[in-house]
Amino acid sequence: MSEKILLIDDETEFLEIMSERMKNRGMDVTTVASPKDALVKVMNETYDAIIVDLMMPEMDGLQTLKALKKINPDVQIIMLTGHATVEKGIEAMKLGAMDLLEKPADLNTLTEKIHKAKARKMILVEKHTEEKIKNIISSKGW
């Protein structure tokens, strides 16, 4: 099954070309240029990985990260940055980012991280399913 990806960056040309390359690798990619649009997408859809630019107008990457995690704490977020500072990286990881990659990113490295994100997400989904089953069993008293 292909990885379902949400790519968020204010550089539309970057979105266009990156999504084409990812689609060529069999991924199902949705792109948005505005963090606010991304929040709407995440409210209505689930993704295996969300790739977020760290510096955007309206709402920066860290604010976007916080807002996405608030909507769905299980989302796997990979931050992309044009000028990574150690502090920003640490802050992003503390806020729950799965990983951070510096632009220009190597697509093979990014693809590996996407695979890891999908695996983590599947573990979380299985864990939640298991908990739900346990709750049902205990509440029914079978």
Binding site: E11, N24, H83, E102, A105
Partner: protein
Amino acid sequence: MTGQIKNKQANNGQLKNGQVNSGQINNGQLNSGEHESLSIGNSGLQYFGSMSASIAHEIKNALAITNENAGLMEDLSLMVIKSGQPLDPERIAKLSRKVMDQVKRADEIVKKMSRFAHSVDDPVKVINLTELLDLTLDLGRRSASAYGVTLAPVQCEIPISVQTNPFILMNLLWLVIKSASTRVNSDKQLQISVSKEQKKVRITITNLIKTEDATQDAKKISAPNKDEIIYLANFLDIELDMKQEREIILLLAG
């Protein structure tokens, strides 16, 4: 603006009401190097740092797009090897044009970076004010957009030259723009115009509202230190009026 400090007093290194207090003033005079270092101060370094970071981000974005275009060309070549189908020459030409566009974009950014870096070369210089304002706005657009504010192109009908310290004027203009952003009108666009008035040059920043009427988003922007703004204006002999409800006015000697 010749390296002499006029009407400014020393006071334990503290900054108050636009007075300079270095504790290093000898008989009211400093040499131009000392004078400039003192004036650039923390806000100057912060300005230089934040603009450099913003430039680095822009260059990285151009590099990222170039990288992905090159990567796509490589992907297409591999697909040709695998499938044996010929490459579409128009597709390759389109990708090459995109790479060239990004090289041009990065080159423009580097030119601006170079002009910005050279703004500290001379303590006093005759400059084209519109060009300096354009550069200040171009460099500041990404930072302004981070807090939701857009900067309209400078409105100026005739070329205007002034003699000033280019870097300190850019720093002052940026601090004033940032301060104006905290009370920008609901369309969130600052308008900047330049005009000549007898022996003065007037820079006006408009589309402002009263501080108390500012939007919640605008109120969240951390306003720069007013003392720093006043100090830089005094240093450049600029009359600064930030008390008007709908505009901020800077009057420079023309």
